[in-house]
Amino acid sequence: MDYAFAVKWLKAFRHSAEAICELYADDFVFEDPILDQYQIRDKGDLGRIFVLYANKDRENGLGVHNFRIRGYEGDRRSGLIRWEWTPEDAGNFIGLDVTNKPFFTQGHTFHVYDEQGRITRESSWWDVGAILTAIGQPGIEKARIPAKSAVAGAA
């Protein structure tokens, strides 16, 4: 769509599950493989996914989810939103203790839109390794595959 829609989409995250669901067509497919969310096609399921992101209670450990847009690449029918995500005041994140451990990551979301501008297809992905690095998970290094002399110059 465009940068303005991306901001509208992320503001809806913070507002309510109902607000975000209104941005999707009745016939849609939502996927966030990082959270094992595949082929979500039901608005009820979609709403329950987004309840987490609309949490406003900084004491319940679920976190307040501050997303920011890095950019939009595409046109009005499809494209990629690149974003940053800072879960604030979270106590546990994907099973890991993150209490008092500030972290953020970056991700991307591919959207396909119908003629009314509603989302018909979503594919969202984000960098988990960056989070494990930031929270100091024991044994974790930033580099996915370390440089080796066996391949000259390999990262």
Partner: protein, 163 residues
């Protein structure tokens, strides 16, 4: 060439012929490749051929004994747009010594990934955004990462903070 055919060419050349792979991209300084969070464009954003060949070398490694691992990327879906292409792919690696510092200990690691490509008028790639789903890999290496299906009816949100 259809979108899925281009996606397969992109994946095949990344694994087997990095010079041919580099030819799919626009001129130096006219393209960017990012495949992780950007802390610093120096190191995290590839924008010329020398950096492409160096940083993407592990994808094309075929030596099962040097610890870099032999990767396989298999395209599963491609979504074409106006001047761009989103690709979903399956990923595996054998013979890898460490993953983000964790010892792999002979395991074959598997997951899925996504790549968005944007093209110029000549059909050359100007932007690549790639993300590998690392959660299953960390789970395969024993980290206590959970991905509960909290969207399913009856799930108790309190269990997210109980661990």
């Amino acid at each position: 060439m259809t979108s899925i055919d281009f996606a397969r060419t992109w994946a095949d050349t990344r694994q087997n012929d990095l010079e041919a792979h580099a030819a799919l991209y626009a001129a130096d300084e006219r393209f960017t490749i990012e495949e992780r969070m950007v802390d610093d464009h120096l190191g995290d954003t590839i924008s010329d051929r020398a950096d492409l060949l160096a940083q993407l070398a592990p994808y094309a490694n075929k030596d099962r004994d040097n610890g870099l691992g032999v990767q396989t990327i298999t395209v599963t879906e491609a979504f074409a747009g106006n001047g761009h292409l989103m690709i979903h792919w399956d990923w595996s690696v054998e013979g890898l010594e460490t993953f983000h510092g964790l010892p792999v200990e002979g395991r074959t690691l598997t997951s899925k990934g996504s790549t968005f490509l944007q093209f110029d008028d000549a059909g050359k790639i100007t932007l690549e955004s790639t993300i590998l789903n690392e959660n299953p890999v960390f789970q395969q290496l024993g980290l206590p990462i959970i991905t509960p299906h909290y969207w399913e009816e009856g799930f108790d949100p309190a269990s997210l903070t109980a661990a």
